[in-house]
Subunit: 166 residues, 4 copies
């Protein structure tokens, strides 16, 4: 479902899920704790930075989604802590966004030490589509089409809240 | 200017500035850093907790202010770091809210170790009155009167943004 | 495995896992984001507050564990976001600590709105036993015995790092 | 390498205070609050990122200072909030490090919108020199010389704690 059709030209494949993005960053002092490594909630903040850059590279900055009234709140997050990372360590984070059914996005993330490749953390987040008030909506067709969802056939209606995301 | 009129009955004096509130709390693990004490930005988060409880005790929870369209963004903050506080240390924070001119609130805060009284940090924040979009407004008369501002004479008009807070 | 023997006197049952603790707290302003509810990493910080109070009530404050050289770093965390919680909302968090094998602790946590009982988030964390340098250790027998682990038979040796926690 | 010979050409003068560094970064979603802009404590975290890069460019990463037992805890911080910055806004931060007497460092920081130059925040931090246990020390001569302090004449003794930083 996620693979682009064989005949699609390279240009058209851009901006389609699954989409991979890699980001390098350093651990901030504010992100450490007295154990001497990053505090356990920081990877979720880093995951968010990765999603921001991934969406920007998709040609669809997340801020522009919210400006159009589409929010992507988390419904689930999972984290595994694989190794230490200290203040100022240079880390490399790879994020892969994909569809998880029709009304969910999923990001799978891995973080390693940039130099050694030693694993630091991995995990994933699952996102619903919601309106400004947090109510679940069907993803707008302009968004599904932009992201290359094969199920985007103008079926969705972003203005109609749904009680249970399908 | 800040003192309540001599003849005011005790009940009427409540809810008037200057107003003092004391709050006890423990340092969270997430608030430490690798130096082994609280990270330097945490006192601003604690100051905010103090303001929240102070406004609640004033009979005017800050959430109710925002619900009525009045925001109190910071225009200035000052911090002095006086001593260490480690994870799980029980701290005592005293916050004093007062007017700073007609269009500013000020909170002076001191934090000490609850047991020994040893100083940890002190500082202050200065707050403007703003609308939902962050534009400076004259403080609404209902708010000034509630807070006991002697200059509250129905002069203020909360619906009229002002370019420069007076 | 987790249930205390039927014949144990009430006093002995205290301080034994599984152990449940409930904590009430308000959402801080610093914990919100521009979506108007708590930012997605905050529950992990709240979980930590719950563990701190749970361990204190077990008669074994987590700070005393670290003082004795035993650290409980996270190896895994899982979160489900079930409902909104806004600034100043009063939440109630129930944490249940239990053993997960011989060398792991697990905390299952549920957070609801204190008034309505409406679910906000739930999840769990899994913790290894580690020394000051983050190396996995077998949990010390004094700790296992204190926590009521039926497998505590003096088998463990806290001074010997193990490459793979069993 | 860092001490400038008397006849040093301008290039060798690098690594001396006052030293200026500019850093560009985007506002993270985790750094916003329900007011729609950055939460008031975030500038202190950004200031720290600026100091980290400034020290790295001085040829003296802050992590290497701590590795040699020299810590630079804050003794004072001051912040002025000058304008809004929203999620994903690209900001430009200029940090200037200088000596404040013999036993203090000072960083003056200004943050503007990268595109428009519109001011966002400004402030400063003042830092003591301390050992691993947080006790004030005289700054080591190797550090003073490296930073180009004219008062560095081998007078300082890093191993001797001082009760009051001079």
């Amino acid at each position: 479902m996620h693979s682009a059709p064989v005949t699609s030209p390279p240009a058209a494949a851009e901006g389609r899920l699954p989409f991979t993005h890699t980001l390098s960053f350093r651990v901030r002092y504010s992100e450490t704790d007295q154990m001497g490594t990053f505090y356990n909630s920081r990877p979720l903040e880093w995951f968010e930075c990765g999603r921001s850059e991934l969406f920007r590279q998709l040609g669809m900055p997340y801020s522009s989604l919210e400006a159009r009234g589409v929010f992507l709140p988390l419904v689930e997050a999972h984290l595994e802590y694989l190794g230490r990372a200290r203040y100022d360590d240079l880390l490399q984070m790879t994020s892969v966004a994909s569809f998880a059914g029709r009304a969910r996005l999923r990001c799978d993330v891995g973080i390693v030490q940039a130099g050694s490749g030693k694993p630091v953390a991995r995990g994933h987040t699952v996102h619903a589509f919601a309106d400004r008030d947090g109510r679940a909506i069907r993803p707008p067709s302009w968004l599904l089409e932009a992201l290359g969802n094969p199920e985007a056939r103008g079926k969705s209606d972003p203005s109609r809240p749904i009680s249970e995301p399908s």
